[in-house]
């Protein structure tokens, strides 16, 4: 319980940590139609391409400070020697970041989807995919940021982005199936499967990495 209170109090006083990424997401979604011709009827085709890349980038921004601040001021040190299991603390941290950034972005993304494609069905179907995807992204980027903890987030992104590219292919396929009214539940199941593995493995790996950093 204490760790949840800790993260929330921290983020309440540091709105750039969670509000910033959400605003960047909105700005990207607003800015991209300006770059193509307004009358272009294919806008909804490129919409999803931009949506996934925007989610990817924003999740990358969101995790930038997830461990660095606590590492620098010694809070991670205290967590590491406390009785509470360290992977649990890390998974709670990631969950709270997802709750504050991933969930709002999923809602906003679905709303934009409604606005761009005028299809309520599509917007409703894309919402769970956005939720799952943002959680996967935030986990993997947290892993990257833990690796490059003191070396800046560019390095972390560089090494983890290649891991996520196959996922982007799956997301593209899922959108096509929804568009063609095919059964897309298979993709949701696949994403859920990936998530359920990641949700246990990543906190374990991150705790190992951070312990190495603390040495």
């Amino acid at each position: 319980m204490n760790i949840i209170k800790f993260e929330l109090l921290k983020l309440r006083n540091k709105s750039r940590g969670w509000l910033g990424p959400i605003l960047v997401f909105i700005l990207i979604m607003v800015a991209f139609p300006l770059t193509v011709e307004i009358s272009n009827k294919d806008l909804d085709q490129s919409f999803f391409a931009v949506l996934w890349i925007a989610v990817l980038l924003v999740m990358m921004l969101a995790t930038e400070d997830i461990f660095l601040e606590d590492f620098n001021d010694g809070s991670l040190e205290q967590f590491a020697i406390s009785d509470i299991s360290f992977p649990y603390i890390i998974s709670v941290k990631i969950f709270i970041y997802w709750l504050l950034i991933g969930v709002p972005i999923s809602i906003i993304g679905s709303l934009f989807c409604l606005g761009f494609t005028n299809s309520g069905n599509l917007a409703i179907n894309i919402f769970p995919i956005l939720l799952i995807t943002s959680y996967i992204f935030i986990n993997v980027f947290s892993f990257g940021n833990a690796l490059s903890l003191t070396k800046g987030s560019v390095l972390g992104t560089l090494v983890t982005l290649p891991l996520l590219l196959p996922l982007l292919i799956v997301l593209g396929k899922a959108v096509i199936s929804i568009n063609l009214n095919l059964n897309y539940l298979g993709f949701v199941a696949l994403l859920l499967g990936v998530l359920s593995i990641i949700i246990f493995l990543i906190p374990l790996i991150i705790s190992y990495i951070i312990r190495a950093h603390l040495e």
């Binding site: 800790f6 006083n13 620098n72 001021d73 010694g74 040190e77 205290q78 020697i81 312990r211 040495e215």
Partner: protein, 192 residues
């Protein structure tokens, strides 16, 4: 009686350079050890090894503890952008009955709603020390607890730690100045 911490032949190497070799000691309940040594002799590393933060070590270390370790290192685990009160509530000691008395003793009782970043280094150190004062662990590890403290607070810290020894707690601290605490000496520089 079993020792709280028992170290046998601890050695530590960093980048092929030996920091210390064959350090052995036993820490009983109600005793304190003062770790001394030159700069770079491995005082902080030894404390981190006892915490379990650092692993690469030859030799054995046994801990018989009922509660979690209380450790205060160079980093004070405080949030600069929060107020003193919020920081204390993050440390889970805001409702402790003894808090008021310690705050008065440190002269911080009127600065609860001040942002931590506007406090001086010594004052921040005092807030960090409050966690040590209000913990209920049976092993206290302090890494240079007196850096930045005025004489008055140093004396208060020593009085408090002596008091804790009476309550059968064990203390390990590193300090380059001598403190008025009933302790055995462990000099890392001598042993190389």
């Amino acid at each position: 009686m079993q020792p709280k911490v028992k170290a046998t032949n601890l050695s530590y190497k960093i980048n092929e350079k030996k920091l210390f070799q064959n350090i052995s000691f036993e820490l009983m309940a109600g005793k304190a050890i003062h770790i001394q040594g030159d700069n770079g002799s491995g005082k902080t590393t030894l404390l981190k090894i006892i915490c379990g933060l650092t692993n690469q070590v030859k030799g054995e270390i046994e801990k018989k503890l009922d509660k979690q370790i209380c450790f205060l290192g160079h980093k004070n685990a405080l949030k600069q952008y929060l107020t003193v009160e919020e920081n204390l509530s993050l440390l889970n000691i805001i409702n402790h009955p003894d808090l008021k008395q310690h705050l008065i003793e440190f002269g911080l009782d009127k600065s609860l709603d001040i942002n931590l970043s506007s406090l001086s280094f010594g004052q921040q150190k005092k807030i960090a020390l409050l966690r040590v004062f209000l913990n209920d662990s049976d092993l206290i590890l302090l890494d240079e607890p007196c850096v930045g403290l005025d004489t008055q607070s140093q004396n208060y810290l020593c009085r408090f730690l002596n008091d804790e020894l009476e309550h059968r707690k064990s203390i390990l601290f590193s300090s380059h100045i001598s403190l008025d605490i009933n302790s055995e000496k462990l000099n890392l520089s001598d042993q190389v």
